[in-house]
Every structure is written in structure tokens, then in C-alpha cells.
């Protein structure tokens, strides 16, 4: 039982490049989330999805895009990477929302230079 799997674990991007952070869960959870975590700051919600085909913006969506074509996968797309996007990105899932607790992946550490 893998839970929430994020790839890659580490990545260095140059300013202006694009990339996709992958997130997959095998628990048949409807809800999925993308957070970023900066040093000394709390986790900030980027985007979330309540089911396949449905996505919505969180607190800090600018510079990112998501899609949810299947229940299992929730990729996060960075277009035109900027140094401000240097962060650790966490994907999480939940069966029915926040009240049931989130299962987090192990994160992707992204550096934009």
C-alpha cells in the first residue's frame, strides 16, 4: 500500500523553465490537495480537487495549474518558473475532506535558479 507518491523528490529548474510535479494515490480518495511549504512558514494551499474533473484554487494559485483526469492522479504544472517558487511541495489526499485527516506524500524539493 503505497499511499501518496510524489515524483520527483528533488529538482533544480532554471528561471523560465516549466515542469510538472507528479502525485498519485492508491487509496481511492476523492479529495486531493497541493501545498507548498517555505522555511519558517506554514503550509499554504495551492490547488485542490474534490473529485475527477473538478479542481479549485487555494490560497496561492498564481503561477501554477492542475488537472484531475482520474481519481488517482493530480499533477501540478509550473509554467515559467520563478525564484519565488523555490519551495517544498506536498501533495495530500483524503477520503471525504479535512475532517478525515490528510495523507501526505513525502514532498518534492524544488529550487529555481
Amino acid at each position: 500500500n503505497a499511499g501518496v507518491t510524489q515524483t520527483p523528490k528533488f529538482r533544480i529548474l532554471k528561471i523560465g523553465q516549466s515542469m510538472t510535479l507528479q502525485c498519485a494515490q492508491d487509496m481511492n480518495h476523492n479529495y486531493m490537495y497541493w501545498y507548498r511549504q517555505d522555511p519558517g512558514m506554514g503550509l499554504k494551499l495551492i490547488y485542490y480537487s474534490v473529485g475527477a474533473g473538478i479542481t479549485d484554487k487555494g490560497e496561492v494559485p498564481n503561477g501554477y495549474n492542475v488537472s484531475r483526469s482520474t481519481t488517482e492522479d493530480f499533477p501540478l504544472r509550473l509554467e515559467l518558473a520563478a525564484p519565488s517558487q523555490t519551495s517544498v511541495y506536498f501533495c495530500a489526499s483524503s477520503p471525504h475532506g479535512a475532517n478525515y485527516g490528510y495523507t501526505f506524500g513525502s514532498g518534492t524539493r524544488l529550487t529555481v535558479v
Binding site: 503550509l43 485542490y48 479535512a98 475532517n99 485527516g101 514532498g107
Partner: protein, 108 residues
């Protein structure tokens, strides 16, 4: 405006020295307060959900309590393996708003 404030930012304890971590919140109509544990280089791990003032939850050496304005995570006789960052979060419009966390270090 911070809606979730955790204190202290860091706490160093000797093994066996009990203490408490604080999480205060300003959201109205609390729909749930959550505690997570995060080890270095890993994602947060869910610990507890509290819904109403007076509620308590326990897991091993950890006990979480809730009042109308704050929550406490009590750690009784901690061990080095309890060292981690403890995150508090509140539910707002269906999503979680996280505090910055308290980094706990327990020395043998």
C-alpha cells in the same frame, strides 16, 4: 492576519520532561482543529482532530485538548523519538489553514 498561531517556535526538552505546545486560533465557527507531526524531509502525519471545546484525544504520550480559543498538545514523559515538528491546523471553508509549527527536540 494569522488565523493559526503556534508557540513556542522551538522547544527543547530532556527525556522524561513533560511539557505542552500551544495553538491559538482566530477563526469563527470552528469546524475542526487538527494536529499533525512532521519529521525532517517527510510529509506531515495526521495525529488528531478535535471538534468542540472540552474535547480531548490521546495517543501514546500525546494528549490534545481544545478550548474556545486554543488547543494544547501535552507531551508526557517524552522520548527522543518524539522529536519532530508539530503542526496545528484549523478547517476554513472546507480546507485546512496551517500554523508555522513547533519544533520539538527531546534529548536523551
Amino acid at each position: 492576519e494569522d488565523q493559526v498561531t503556534q508557540s513556542p517556535e522551538a522547544l527543547r526538552l530532556q527525556e522524561g520532561e513533560s511539557s505542552s505546545l500551544n495553538c491559538s486560533y482566530t477563526v469563527s465557527g470552528l469546524r475542526g482543529l487538527f494536529w499533525y507531526r512532521q519529521d525532517p524531509g517527510k510529509g506531515p502525519e495526521f495525529l488528531f482532530t478535535l471538534y468542540s471545546a472540552g474535547e480531548e484525544k490521546e495517543k501514546e504520550r500525546l494528549k490534545a485538548t481544545l478550548t474556545k480559543k486554543e488547543s494544547f498538545l501535552h507531551i508526557t514523559a517524552p522520548k527522543p523519538e518524539d522529536s519532530a515538528t508539530y503542526l496545528c491546523a484549523v478547517q476554513l471553508q472546507g480546507n485546512l489553514i496551517f500554523g508555522k509549527g513547533t519544533k520539538l527536540s527531546v534529548k536523551p
